[in-house]
Symmetry: none
Subunit: 230 residues, 2 copies
DNA sequence: ATAAATTTTTAGACAAATCTAAAAATTGGT
DNA sequence: ACCAATTTTTAGATTTGTCTAAAAATTTAT
């Protein structure tokens, strides 16, 4: 048994604590990014005052660093805990889709419950049963027992072929004009985008997003990351 | 969807409430047996005063009948809820043993967690994946979606006469030491057991199992259920 | 039948996780 | 640098499930 797992075993965490750690990880993902109280509150669908209370408790437990009015960062231990929860969540998602015929939109709610089941043997056996998958049904990477994982293969929208479908996962250019353009056109993280056509003349794209057809320039498309489906 | 399932869907129950209902069912099993506050407290490993509080709450919700100083009985709805929890618990136990190589003594703790996962589709698909089993790994019957189940015609090994043959179908004692003993001696559900001899002095038995002769105490034999062969 | 023993309930407290409302600190615009 | 807006924290309350200690009801024994 690794050193990490000894720590995880000793730590007894409530469901609520685990959800905070998971959300904080998703908002930052490492030990150096400061996450604000309000951002956490919004993701947790709770009030900032509740977040402050929980931040103090989790800092007390050594899972994050907290400084008044500054925000929090995960400790190394906090990252390990987050990865172990995410590992469980994503493995359960694969299980539900592969073994129990769940559709992609049905898995999340159930996986949110299953990720809190406490049994090392359980999740390791599920992992084995599934053949040690590397990605979940949404294409997100599944951390190994030791917390290692491969970042998913995302690509620029401009590199997608005609008729392909992807989910918007990030931007390359982070300038204000570009982000404003995205806002104005209601292009947001998580949106599904289908490439309808690519114009030979200027490589501009005709895409389907939010059930609406939209034409965007090659320059726009070459600054949007998508995760290709299938 | 049956009427019952409509009710179960509307009822939102906490984990603690579900555990009370399950324990009360195990102590009585029907709508007419009065269960005492102390008995529940002992099984729940809690104090009688806590049981009183919870009894009032569950009566309020229509799951049981409660009269001061008398005890409680389950309502019809309470029985249905209990059966649905027991169904989940036992199906998960089969899953853990059949699909994930858990041993008899490892399943209980994890099934205690899994039985509270809320998803009708999840448990129905697990049921299908397992081929709609009728009995769990301890030989206890699994209620159907409609709450019906067949108690098995079984008897204690200690009540079998010399030279009789039976098939192991369950255990009376489900404690870890007993289950570990069975694992160690390769006594498992489905094994055929022949009673070779019964010692007058201490009622210990000499049995034939897996084509091997084995001596077991009367105490062991009185905690093993077998189904007698014609 | 009545006193003693037991069981059950009540009353009041506590911990966890949340909330609201108000106070304090930080940030941003001019 | 200062005022206004925003963010964050504090203080105090609420809910759920539990506890202890004491009171009340029931059961048992003589």
């Amino acid at each position: 048994m690794t050193n990490k797992n000894v720590f995880l075993k000793k730590l007894c965490m409530t469901r609520s604590e685990e959800n905070y750690i998971k959300i904080i990880f998703h908002l930052g993902g490492n030990t150096s990014t400061l996450i604000s109280t309000n951002a956490i509150a919004e993701q947790m669908a709770t009030k900032p005052s509740s977040v402050t209370d929980m931040s103090k408790k989790l800092a007390e437990k050594g899972l994050l660093h907290y400084k008044r009015y500054q925000g929090v960062t995960l400790t190394e231990l906090g990252v390990k805990v987050a990865l172990s929860i995410i590992r469980k969540h994503r493995l359960w998602e694969v299980f539900l889709v592969e073994k129990l015929d769940f559709t992609w939109d049905e898995v999340h709610e159930v996986a949110e419950q299953l990720e809190h089941i406490k049994s090392e043997k359980l999740i390791d056996q599920i992992d084995a049963l599934l053949g040690y998958p590397k990605y979940d049904p949404h294409g997100d990477p599944i951390p190994s027992k030791d917390g290692e994982f491969l970042e998913r293969d995302k690509q620029l929208l401009s590199d997608m072929p005609k008729q392909s479908i992807g989910v918007c996962v990030g931007v390359k250019d982070t300038s204000t004009p570009f982000l404003k353009f995205l806002d104005k056109n209601q292009i947001a993280l998580g949106n599904t985008i289908k490439v309808l056509d690519i114009e030979d003349f200027d490589q501009s794209l005709s895409i389907l997003i939010n059930n609406k057809k939209l034409n965007i320039s090659h320059q726009i498309a070459s600054n949007l990351y998508v995760k290709k489906q299938n």
